[in-house]
């Protein structure tokens, strides 16, 4: 009884948050999945919709637009995650041994994190304007100035690799953050460990390869999780740069049009479910792993 009296007040104090999370996170996720399994394709009707199982989940693959948006999300994810990871790592690598005015460099690389994708999208849409030749503005014009006209292309309007261009602003926005993560990781490697490896006859490169890089694995994993889940739900950036154009459609913008233009709740919920599942498959194992690790330490 006394033990209960010891922890009950704490539970009571947290209970409002527990209820809110239970309802708004888990309850609404469940509601969304349930809605995705109905034929409620019309939001005006008062009827709740009939249960149709996984029909929506399979049916959507026959839609050309869905296939396109999935393809776009994959291209975007590969370029964005790879680009931000490499650039972030490289910046940290350049800075890790200490450099003059380090805090100044960090402030510059990190400032895009404080600004919204909507605001930066405005300038990136201008930079990645698809006009070429006489009418070229933005980066295409810059290429013309420096005599690299052959580099001019359609950017995000390119039918094949437009989404690779869309990843550029995202890399610009996020790589400073990844740099900060890696920098902390680099600095977490004890100097004695490096020194020991050197004493054992390791070259500077060998020290990196065998001592530093293995110790960066946890940071790399965190960075991958962060970038991956941002990438799969990307929305603001795409809307800001190109609006609702099919040429840059991703699942999140497709869902938006399904809800507000096609007025089809079941379809919107189906797309939303796919977005959640694509993130959950790697975040859930990560969180469980993280919780176990926390217990051990």
């Amino acid at each position: 009884m006394t033990r209960v009296r010891r922890w009950l007040p704490g539970l009571l104090l947290v209970s409002p948050s527990i209820i809110l999370i239970a309802v708004f996170v888990y309850g609404l996720l469940g509601w969304n999945f349930k809605l995705a399994m109905t034929d409620k394709h019309d939001e005006i009707a008062e009827i709740p919709g009939n249960f149709v199982g996984l029909e929506n989940f399979t049916g959507i693959w026959s839609e050309e637009r869905w296939g396109l948006s999935v393809r776009h999300a994959i291209v975007f994810t590969l370029v964005f995650v790879g680009g931000a990871l490499v650039l972030g790592w490289f910046l940290a690598f350049l800075m890790e041994k200490g450099i003059r005015a380090e805090s100044g460099f960090r402030a510059v690389y990190l400032f895009p994190m404080a600004v919204s994708f909507i605001a930066t999208g405005v300038v990136w849409r201008w930079l990645m304007n698809s006009a070429t030749g006489e009418q070229a503005v933005g980066l295409n014009r810059l290429f013309h100035y420096v005599g690299l006209d052959f580099l001019q292309w359609q950017w995000f309007r390119d039918p094949g690799w437009g989404m690779a261009a869309m990843a550029i602003p995202a890399i610009w926005q996020m790589s400073g953050y990844i740099m900060a993560l890696f920098l902390a990781g680099f600095r977490g490697v004890p100097e004695e460990l490096r020194e020991a490896a050197r004493v054992d006859g390791c070259s500077e490169w060998g020290v990196y390869r065998h001592v530093v890089l293995p110790m960066l694995r946890p940071v790399t994993l965190s960075a991958l999780i962060i970038l991956g889940h941002i990438s799969l739900k990307v929305f603001d950036l795409v809307v800001a740069v190109s609006g609702k154009q099919i040429i840059t459609d991703v699942p999140a913008t497709f869902m938006w049009t399904a809800v507000y233009d096609s007025h089809d709740p079941a379809k919107g919920a189906t797309i939303a479910s796919y977005i959640v599942l694509s993130v959950a498959v790697f975040v859930v194992p990560y969180l469980i792993w993280d919780a176990r690790k926390g217990k051990r330490s």
Binding site: W7, P9, L11, L13, V14, P16, I18, L20, I21, F24, V25, L28, L29, W31, N32, L94, G98, I99, R100, F105, V108, P112, M113, V115, S116, I118, A119, T120, V122, V123, W124, W126, Q135, L142, W172, G176, A180, A184, R187, E195, R198, E204, S222, I225, I226, H229, D236, A240, P251, A252, M255, V259, P265, G268, A272, I275, V276, V283, L287, A291
Partner: protein
């Protein structure tokens, strides 16, 4: 999670080892870093330069030039169009971040110092709420707000209170995480001593824990303010024209083909000023929020 890394990172770089290949390497790194600074600042240059151009200089051939005549014309038009959104954003982000901090402090305190059975599992369940793509709850959330609003006779959907509610609820995980990680560093003996003296849970919170919580409050308030200010997804699903925050208004201004570039860019800068000021003045706390688990998009 990443907070552990951050805490370990020393503020200054370890002294470069004597056998470091020396000055040449250092200069190469410095030059590379400076080049990246230039690349990172290209969008800033474009934003500033374009926003001060008169309409007569909108010609593509002058795209990268400094304005011949500097004018604040575009700024005043942009301000006029954006002002209601900026007011709404403050009405959203100020109360929202304060409520978030209060909830986060309570949860973090209990989950670190006044634990109950299952607290760890609960915390992991909370953390999942940080990673879910909010698309997965959006359609039911709109429905829930409409229903609850109708039942209680208040307007939740479409207004700012509803948007505050959404941000506060989905901010609980990150705020709890930051406070919990901060409170873990307070020695348990301090809490125990207070208990022995007969102080209850709330009394201990008030007189022992809160007085030293300043930094955690700063981190959480800054973090939540920034994410609420920069959010687009919740705003576009949950608000109507009279309560649109800055991001939605900016997107409408910039998305209209009739808006000249100068006004778009001025509006984008205006929309970013509050969070940029925070970043410049309180970057330290902003960074800590990022490292603590900006594991949220």
């Amino acid at each position: 999670m990443t907070a552990h890394v951050a805490e370990k990172a020393p503020r200054t770089a370890p002294a470069a080892p004597a056998r470091d290949k020396g000055r040449a390497g250092k200069w190469v790194r410095l030059v590379l870093l400076l080049l990246f600074v230039l690349v990172f600042l290209i969008p800033v240059y474009v934003l500033l330069v374009t926003s001060f151009k008169p309409l007569t200089e909108a010609d593509p051939t002058q795209a990268w030039n400094l304005p011949k005549v500097w004018t604040t014309e575009a700024w005043s038009v942009a301000w006029e169009k954006l002002e209601p959104g900026i007011v709404n954003s403050f009405l959203l982000a100020v109360p929202g971040s304060l409520i978030s901090a209060a909830l986060g402090a309570l949860n973090g305190y209990v989950l670190s110092k006044w634990r109950f059975p299952g607290a760890d599992v609960l915390f992991t369940l909370f953390l999942f709420g940080m990673f879910i793509p909010y698309q997965g709850v959006m359609i039911p959330l709109v429905q829930l707000m409409v229903n609850v609003g109708d039942t209680l006779g208040v307007q939740l959907y479409g207004g700012i209170p509803g948007l505050v509610l959404a941000h506060v609820v989905y901010g609980i995980p990150i705020c709890t995480l930051i406070f919990r990680n901060y409170y873990v560093t307070i020695p348990d003996e301090l809490i125990e001593a207070s208990r022995v003296d007969g102080a209850g849970m709330l009394r201990t919170l008030w007189s022992i824990v809160l007085p030293v919580s300043g930094p955690a409050f700063a981190v959480v308030i800054i973090w939540q303010f920034t994410s609420m200010w920069n959010d687009f997804l919740f705003a576009v699903f949950l608000t109507g024209p009279s309560s649109w925050p800055t991001t939605v208004m900016l997107n409408n201004i910039a998305g209209a083909v009739t808006t000249p570039y100068s006004q778009q860019m001025a509006a984008a800068i205006l929309a970013s000023i509050p969070t940029m000021i925070i970043y410049v003045l309180l970057g330290r706390f902003f960074m800590r929020g990022l490292m603590a688990g900006a594991l949220k998009g």
